[in-house]
C-alpha cells in the first residue's frame, strides 16, 4: 500500500483500492491513499476527474463498488454501524452549499448538530447548542447575519454558513468540496488560516478539493493530483511544481491525446 511520504503520523483515513462507479462510468479506479492526522491535504485535478466523487465516498454518500475505506479507531466503513460512527466524527462543506433557503443562518448552522437531538423531539434547540452555533458563525465573520434568511445572503456568505455548519461539529475529519470557491481571495486566506489553526490545535484531518492551485500550495501540507480517476501526483505541497501541474492539467494537449505537450 503506497503510504504518503509526508505522513509519519497515524493515518486517520485510509482508502484501499477504492473504485466508484456513477451510472455506467467508472469515476475512480482502484484509488489507494491515506490521510494523516493533523494535516491538510488538497485534492486537485481537472473538472470531472472524480474529486467530488472522492468526497462523496469519504462521507458515505456514494457507495464504493469495490475497495474499502477505513477510519482510525473505527475500522472499515462497510457496515451501517461503523459508517454511522465515522459520520458522527465527519463534517463536509459542500460545493453547492446544501443549505435550507428559508431558514436563518443560525438555524442552518444548528443543522450541523442535528445528530445530537432526537428527531421527534418537539423542543426548541437548547441554549447551549444555539450558543455553539452562534460562535461558529462568529468564526466565519457572520455573527451579524445570524438571523438573516439564507436566500437573502450572497454566494460568499452562504459558503461561509456552510463552513460554519461543518466547524460547529468539531469534527475529526473535515471534508471540503471547493470550500472557498465563492469567497473573495482575502476572506479565503483568512478562512484558510482558521483551518490551519484548527489543525495545529490537533486531532483534525482536513481534505479539501481546491481548484485554486496557489491556495493549494500555500494552505495544504500535501497535494494529491487526480487525473483520469487515478492518482497522478502525491507529495508535499512544495513538490507540486510546474511539471506536476502540467501532468495533471494537460491544457495544451490535444483532446484525444495521451500525454501532456511540453509548453
Amino acid at each position: 500500500m503506497p503510504f504518503s511520504v509526508t505522513s509519519p503520523q497515524l493515518a486517520t483515513v485510509t482508502v484501499e483500492r477504492l473504485t466508484v462507479r456513477r451510472g455506467n462510468r467508472t469515476v475512480l479506479h482502484e484509488l489507494s491513499l491515506s490521510f494523516a492526522e493533523d494535516s491538510i491535504t488538497a485534492v486537485v485535478g481537472p473538472s470531472g476527474v472524480g474529486k467530488t466523487t472522492l468526497m462523496g465516498a469519504l462521507n458515505g454518500l456514494l457507495r464504493p463498488s469495490d475497495g474499502a475505506i477505513s477510519m482510525a479507531g473505527i475500522g472499515r466503513l462497510d457496515e451501517a454501524g461503523t459508517l454511522r460512527e465515522a459520520r458522527r466524527r465527519t463534517a463536509t462543506v459542500f460545493q453547492n452549499h446544501a443549505l435550507i433557503d428559508r431558514l436563518s443562518a443560525l438555524d442552518n448552522v444548528l443543522l450541523g448538530l442535528a445528530d445530537s437531538r432526537h428527531p421527534l423531539s418537539p423542543l426548541p434547540w437548547p441554549r447551549a447548542l444555539r450558543e455553539r452555533a452562534a460562535r461558529a458563525l462568529d468564526e466565519v465573520g457572520l455573527l451579524g447575519r445570524a438571523t438573516t434568511r439564507i436566500d437573502r445572503l450572497s454566494g460568499g456568505e452562504r459558503q461561509r454558513v456552510g463552513i460554519a455548519r461543518a466547524l460547529v461539529r468539531c469534527p475529526r475529519l473535515l471534508l471540503g468540496d471547493e470550500p472557498f470557491a465563492s469567497v473573495d481571495p482575502a476572506l479565503a486566506r483568512r478562512l484558510a488560516e482558521e483551518f490551519r489553526r484548527l489543525v495545529a490545535r490537533g486531532g483534525l484531518t482536513v481534505i479539501l478539493v481546491l481548484h485554486q492551485l496557489q491556495m493549494a500550495r500555500t494552505l495544504a501540507d500535501r497535494i494529491v493530483g487526480l487525473a483520469d480517476g487515478r492518482v497522478a501526483f502525491d507529495g508535499p505541497a512544495a513538490a507540486f511544481d510546474a511539471a506536476a501541474e502540467n501532468r495533471i492539467f494537460p491544457s495544451h494537449a490535444p483532446l484525444d491525446g495521451q500525454g501532456p505537450v511540453s509548453p
Binding site: 459508517l83 458522527r88 446544501a98 443543522l111 442535528a114 491525446g257
Partner: protein, 275 residues
C-alpha cells in the same frame, strides 16, 4: 479544439440543426393534435348545436329576476347551519391532513420505501375518484344525518387530493440539505424532520389552506344528501322555489368563503415571514 477534423465537426453541426428542425415539427404536430382533441370535446358535448341555446338566456334572466332582491328575513335561523358548515370544513380538513401526511410520505418516490409507493398512490387515486357526494351518502347511512357524516365525507375525499399533493411536494424537495445531514450520520427520520419538513412547510400550509377553503364549498354541497349545514338550507329554499332566500344564503356562503380566504392569506403571511 484543433484536434477535431473539420468534416466531423460539420456533421455534428448538421446534427444539432437537424435536432432543431425535429423539435419544430414535433411542436406543430402536438399543437394540431391538441386543437383536434379540444374541438372534439366541445363537439361531443353538443356545444356547436345552436338549437340548444334557444331560450337559454331568457330563462336564466327570469331565474335571476325571481331571486331579486335577496331575502334575509329568516337570518336568525342561519347561525346554526353556518357553524355546522364551518365545523365540518375544519374537522374534515384536519382529519384529511393527518391521514394525508403519512400516506404522502409513503407515496413519495424519493422518500418512502419503493415497494409501497405504487399501492399507496393507487389508494389515493381511488379515494379521490369516489365523488364527495357518494362519500356523503355512505357516511349518512353509517352514522346518521347531521354534520358528522359531512366531516368524514370531506376527510375521505380530501385525503386523496392532499396525499397526492403532499407526495408531489415531497418529491420536489431539494435533496442537498438532506444529503448534508446524512453525511454527518443523521437517520432518515432526522432528515425528514430537520431538512424536509422545514423546506416544505410553507407549501404544505398553502395546499392545506386551499383545501380548507374548498371544503367550505364542498360542505355546502354535502347538505344535499343530508349532511346538514348551509347547503341543506340552500337546497330546501330551492325546492320550495324560494329563490330570493336561496340567493341570500349564497351571499352568506360567499361571505364565509371570502373571510376564510383572508384568514388563509394572513396565516400564510405569518408563516412565510421568518425573521
Amino acid at each position: 479544439m484543433t484536434a477535431i477534423p473539420t468534416t466531423s465537426k460539420d456533421a455534428e453541426l448538421a446534427a444539432v440543426l437537424d435536432d432543431g428542425r425535429r423539435r419544430v415539427l414535433s411542436g406543430v404536430a402536438t399543437t394540431v393534435v391538441l386543437v383536434l382533441v379540444i374541438a372534439g370535446a366541445f363537439a361531443y358535448a353538443n356545444a356547436f348545436d345552436l338549437e340548444r341555446y334557444r331560450g337559454a338566456v331568457s330563462t336564466i334572466l327570469t331565474l335571476a329576476a325571481d331571486s331579486f332582491p335577496p331575502d334575509f328575513s329568516r337570518w336568525q335561523l342561519w347561525g346554526r347551519p353556518l357553524l355546522e358548515t364551518l365545523a365540518m370544513s375544519i374537522a374534515g380538513t384536519v382529519l384529511a391532513c393527518m391521514a394525508a401526511l403519512p400516506l404522502g410520505i409513503l407515496a413519495a418516490r424519493t422518500i418512502g420505501p419503493t415497494w409501497c409507493g405504487a399501492p399507496i398512490r393507487l389508494l389515493l387515486n381511488t379515494v379521490r375518484s369516489i365523488p364527495g357526494l357518494v362519500w356523503g351518502v355512505i357516511f349518512v347511512a353509517a352514522v346518521g344525518f347531521g354534520p358528522l357524516p359531512g366531516v368524514f365525507a370531506l376527510a375521505c375525499h380530501s385525503t386523496g387530493m392532499l396525499g397526492k399533493f403532499y407526495a408531489e411536494i415531497l418529491e420536489h424537495v431539494d435533496p442537498g440539505p438532506g444529503d448534508a445531514l446524512r453525511s454527518q450520520g443523521v437517520s432518515r427520520l432526522g432528515v425528514l424532520r430537520f431538512s424536509v419538513v422545514p423546506q416544505i412547510l410553507p407549501r404544505l400550509v398553502d395546499v392545506t389552506l386551499y383545501r380548507w377553503e374548498h371544503n367550505v364549498r364542498a360542505a355546502t354541497v354535502l347538505g344535499v344528501v343530508g349532511a346538514g349545514g348551509l347547503g341543506l338550507e340552500i337546497i330546501t329554499a330551492f325546492h320550495l322555489f324560494e329563490y330570493r332566500e336561496a340567493l341570500a344564503l349564497i351571499i352568506v356562503l360567499l361571505g364565509l368563503v371570502t373571510a376564510i380566504d383572508f384568514l388563509g392569506a394572513w396565516i400564510r403571511g405569518r408563516f412565510l415571514r421568518q425573521e
